[in-house]
């Protein structure tokens, strides 16, 4: 950056604040600099922002409100009225998406709402007719029904919804059909659905499958993203999937480390640390050499620090001195990680 021409360096909010602080620029100079750099929203920008804010937050609140309404399962409301309401909302959302087009924000919001209403419709159907189907079936059917919209929608939000549904289907299938009898999971579920789902990831095989599912989604996303599809350019979606893939396998590996030798954990437990090692090493290689993503690199390194430290804590048995050794080790690892991340960023800058 030091060698770059100043005319080639764009002014960003972060950079301008840094320079203003170091040069102790007066308030009036800062305000003028923001103005000259175009970092002060004008009337048109404010109008566009307010327009988007009202549309997106309005749609989000309405969709969640509709979900809450049907989740209440109002006994006084006739079943026909329930179906008319939800199907009416679904059809209206699809019609709006069709006429506005999926490339416009309003069309995207409408298609997303339609995808959510599909799930609500399935839930209302289950409530009304007491089909007796397992809940995983609801999420799986929902995912299958909206997959066509995800394909044509050009919207990362729809893909994220589809992936969440696929994860839920897998987790619920596993906990309801493959390993249904686990009283401790039942106890965790009492604390809330999030606690129940997180606890279910302590099952080695399930954690491995969840990791594989999300890793597959991540690889597919990165593969298509390289084909210059403009709607796939944002990095939020792949970052979320990377966390979805890493967290279960890291939990599983931690359990493997601390429960080594426990009979309960015999079986395919060795796959977890192997999968963890493969995933983190590939992520560290790919996101440092092929495509720079500091967020995924930082998350992978943090997971690696936790696992390496836990492994050493488990292996070393030498009293309380071990704690001192481990603390130095953690500090050393994180310092090295921060140093390496800085080096990676600089090497990318040098290539640019």
């Amino acid at each position: 950056m030091a060698k770059q021409k100043l005319s080639a360096i764009p002014v960003t909010t972060r950079r301008l604040k840094h320079i203003a602080n170091e040069l102790k620029l007066s308030v009036s100079a800062q305000q003028r600099a923001f103005e000259l750099a175009g970092l002060k929203p004008d009337r048109a920008a404010w109008l566009q922002f307010v327009d988007r804010l009202m549309l997106i937050s309005g749609a989000a609140l309405t969709v969640v409100g509709v979900m809450a309404f049907f989740a209440y399962n109002w006994a006084e409301l006739h079943k026909a009225a329930k179906f008319i309401l939800i199907e009416g909302a679904l059809v209206a959302a699809v019609v709006v998406a069709y006429f506005r087009g999926v490339d416009k924000l309003s069309g995207k919001a409408a298609l997303f709402a339609a995808a959510v209403f599909t799930g609500v419709l399935l839930a209302v159907y289950g409530q009304t007719y007491q089909t007796g189907a397992d809940p995983y079936g609801l999420f799986l059917t929902w995912a299958i029904l909206i997959s066509g919209w995800a394909l044509i929608g050009r919207n990362p939000g729809l893909w994220l919804l589809l992936l969440v549904l696929a994860n839920l289907s897998l987790i619920l299938y596993w906990t309801q059909l493959v390993h249904p009898e686990d009283w401790s999971r039942g106890l965790a579920t009492e604390l809330g659905p999030f606690a129940g789902i997180t606890y279910s990831l302590t099952d080695f095989a399930l954690a491995q499958w969840v990791c594989a599912l999300n890793a597959f989604a991540l690889v597919s996303w990165e593969f298509f993203q390289r084909r210059e599809l403009h709607w796939m350019r944002g990095r939020s979606f792949p970052r979320i999937i990377a966390v979805f893939a890493l967290v279960p396998i890291a939990i599983s590996t931690l359990i493997f480390i601390f429960a080594m030798g426990a009979e309960y954990y015999w079986g395919i437990r060795y796959v977890s640390p192997v999968l963890f090692a493969i995933f983190t090493l590939l992520a560290l290689y790919y996101y440092s050499k092929k495509l720079l993503d500091m967020f995924i690199l930082a998350v992978s390194l943090l997971a690696l620090i936790v696992i390496v430290t836990s492994l050493l804590a488990r292996v070393i048995h030498s009293g309380f001195e071990m704690f001192f050794l481990l603390s130095i080790l953690v500090i050393g690892q994180s310092a090295a990680a921060a140093h390496w991340l800085r080096k990676v960023r600089k090497s990318w800058e040098a290539q640019a």
Partner: protein
Amino acid sequence: MSERHGNFQDVFSQLAEENLLDSDWEPKTRTLLAREHNEQPWYVRIMVGFSAWLASWMLIGFVVGAAIVESEQATLILGVVLVVGAVVGRCVSDNDFITQMALAVSLAGEALMIFGVAQFSESFEITILSFVALEAVLLAFYPDIVHRFLSAASIIFALAILLFEWKALDWVHVIVISFAMLFVLLVYAEQHFLARGQARLLTPVKWGVLFGQLSVLMLSTVYVLPELMRDMQLFPNPWISGIGLGLLLLYLVYELVKSENFTLTSANTAALYASCILVIILSAMAPGLIMALIILLLGFARVDRVLMSVAIGFFTVFLTAFFYGIELNLLTKSMLLIGVGALLIAGRFGLKFYLAAQKEIALNE
């Protein structure tokens, strides 16, 4: 609006021409940009902070387990020594290893100090208030971004814990509203801090205050069985925070309209404030929605993408937690959410029609 616009050459030469910048700005700017480039993004700092936190627990484990200190005085003294050592170490070096080491040692030292105070005083209040005082002092003297963030957030947590101990959770709204006001004030005062070269103090405090305030606000979605809470409510009457934050939102809208020089007719002004008041009334039971709106507006006005991302993230998390909370029944929640949502969508259409009408008038003229 894209965040990237003009370049440094154009912007700064214009500033120099207008005598707002010294003539030797070019070499200085070049050096500073290179230095700015060395600063780590926020998620790397979180990684560093988490590692230091982990290391500090191990250090505490070592000190306690190895019985290095056996009396409360010794615990207190060792804590002070560790904290002072960490502050000095951090002041003299910017090296990665020293920075992490100092952070971990300081956190361990602070824990020992507070443990010592707790043993010494045998009073929960004195312990918590000492912690608040210690963090306030370190906020000023420990020149580390991660530590300052942790100090600012932990002061807010400590105050909330104190209210819980005093069984005075009705006052939780004071924390929520006053720290939201402090956050808005810090955002507004940012340029004054930068003009004095105090970004390393302001930035972490601003984020720490926001993190602490949002965490306390999340309590409004948590329901704890009355038997476990000795008949206390964790966040009683959330509408009080809702109204307080609503007033702050109204003030913010007023300031934005004034500072951005929007020319609004009296009818437009009335429509704007009436819509805001309606949204506030409808979402008063879900104060997190109003806070998300405040952060989003500030983020957009300051072209701060991180702030806007925090607002969107918090909006999502709060909405999810609000959906699952059982303080209100699902029917009431659905009415509230659909009401606010429909109001916003209707407002959007109203704005569209108004702008189209304005355009037509302008064309006719």
